[in-house]
């Protein structure tokens, strides 16, 4: 594959390293000559000095031949312009954009990005996880579809310990997708038993999953 990465900063460098190790063909665009020198003398990549907003630079990098574009600079306006041009003018099949500000996520999607990553959103999710009970980790939230994936570690005094999936009495719209316990990874059926310390992966509609979490973590003593 031919991959173009705009931005050789913290995120970009990790991407470049990963793609380089996989043997992909990589072109990197960055306005810093120093970063371009680092990239071209450290990885199997060619570099272009300039802005990701500059059509001439994108043309020099032969963006029309790219299979994927990663617009991962620290400037959302540059990422936005690059996404727009990549889709409209260069017909890049797959575009991934970094949204430094959550406000830009929708704009980037409207500009044509196939995937938008917002480090701030991810940081907030991880912080929220840390603030919750240690037994519960929110792994994924899709705000558009209003669905959620959560991992629950069954606590010592949980009322559901020893019960089967059938008897968990989970709300509609919430299912147990996977259980990781003493028997390893199990795709449960209705007869699968839940044990203390099992990691139960719940998925479904957001409110139903929150309800399901409450049921799984409810103490016997409550």
């Amino acid at each position: 594959m031919y991959i173009v990465v705009i931005g050789a900063g913290h995120v970009g460098l990790h991407l470049i390293q990963s793609f380089s190790q996989r043997g992909e063909r990589i072109a990197v665009i960055d306005k810093s000559e120093r970063k371009c020198r680092h990239v071209s003398t450290t990885f199997d990549a060619v570099a272009f000095v300039g802005s990701g907003k500059d059509r001439r630079v994108l043309r020099s990098a032969e963006l029309e031949k790219a299979d994927m574009l990663f617009a991962v600079t620290d400037n959302d306006l540059v990422n936005l312009a690059a996404c727009r041009m990549a889709k409209k003018d260069f017909a890049v099949p797959y575009v991934v954009a970094l949204a430094n500000s959550p406000r830009r996520k929708e704009e980037l999607k409207d500009a044509g990005a196939d995937a938008v990553i917002c480090p701030l959103d991810e940081a907030i999710r991880l912080v929220e996880n840390a603030l919750r009970t240690p037994n519960v980790s929110v792994l994924f939230i899709d705000p558009e579809e209003d669905c959620k994936l959560v991992r629950v570690t069954i606590p010592l005094n949980a009322s559901v310990a020893g019960k089967t999936v059938r008897h968990l009495d989970l709300p509609p719209g919430c299912k147990v997708g996977l259980i990781c316990g003493r028997n390893g990874l199990v795709f449960p059926d209705k007869g699968t038993q839940i044990a203390v310390h099992d990691q139960v992966f719940l998925l479904g509609a957001r409110e139903a999953v929150d309800d399901g979490v409450r049921k799984l973590t409810m103490s016997e003593l409550a």
């Binding site: 031919y2 043997g23 071209s40 450290t42 990549a45 020099s60 196939d114």
Partner: protein
Amino acid sequence: MDADSMGQHEPFRLRLRRDVGLLGSFSFGYADVGAGIYLTLGLVAQFSGPATPLSFAVASLAYLFTALSYAELASSFPEAGGGLIYSEKAFGKLAAFITAWCLLLDYVVTTSIFALAAVGYMGYFLPALHGDPYFSLAALLLVSGLVVVNCLGVRESAGFSAALVLLDVSGITLVILAGYLAGFRPFWEQINWGTTPDLNGFLYGSSIAMASFLGIEVISQTAEETKVAGRTIPRAVFLVSAAVVVISIAFSSLAVGVVPWNILGQSYKDPAAIVAEYLPYGRIFGAWLGLMGMTVCIVAANAGIVGVSRMAFSMSREGLLPRWLGSLHRKYRVPYRAIILFASIQLLLAYTGHMGLSADLYNFGALLSYMLVNLALIALRRKDPSRFRPFKLPGTIKLGHGQRFEMPLIALLGFVSCGFVWTLVVLTHETGRLIGFLWLGLGLLLYYLYRRSRSPKLE
């Protein structure tokens, strides 16, 4: 977007492996260039006489300009194709084809001429090999064996080349040191300008000496397989240049210092071994250089096959030759069809080969393409300014009033020097001129017919 549509922009789904490091890149570059002196020493001495080292010095200068141009271009465009890619990006498909077709001539001739030279040095040990039909048959067998090695993949070729090149560099360095310590007679004391040599002879000899250095293109051909090309290629070019220039001038100085130049001129099949025989412990050094000459010429012949296959791969990828020619073997990931097709021409040339004509064709093809490559560097500085050059030629001349353009001086000197020698070859080497232009004409005809057959699909 789904996984199946990934990579749709690249017609060749299999890519060459990146497994050539600094040693491999150096070996590919040195193999062809370093072997040149084993081949041309006797031929140059025939015409330049005692001024042979000066011929190599003149050729070195022209070579260095172009080598540095390649260092910039190959590190900035790490793709298989070398001169083809640079010319295409600078001037378009036709220029790319001319460059590539001329280099193809060079690679085809390289394998055959160095296979013959290798057999010449084998003949130092087995004199029967110097006679017909064994001389040609042995060259034919040698080329066949190298084709098989190449079909197994670059890794095997790079390792093979690296081991032999290291052996050669250390071996010839030892001989040079031993020779200078044993008693060196300055060559310049023998020169009598106007008679030994005369100007025409010196120029003719210098143009043959140029054939010693025509091989730096191989490094750029293997750029797509080179690890971290931006760092590796400039280093490889510098190392090759330093090694080749020092060794060729030092060895040729030693040669005319110990061997009467007219005897050197007659020993065109194994000149290096003859030089060694004149040193103390001559039989041992002679055998050693005979072995070195054989090994280095084998490596150079191998480099020619590598160059042909990679050039054909690049040409077919760029739509200059049919695609089936450039397709990679599923397991070994080498362009096996191209290797085999051009090997048949190389085998034919090896079997019927004339060494003097081969040197002329070698010069014709490579110098013309090098002129285009130097021009391409100049054009690309203007056309592709945002591309980062890990190595950039120092020294520019500012041109123009409004849009100021900085002309890279070294590339300009490279173009002028290659142009001068090419013109010399064309004017003074009749058969080479004829066959060279015939090859060019044939190529242009094939190009026209192939592009015309594809033109409805290109719309």
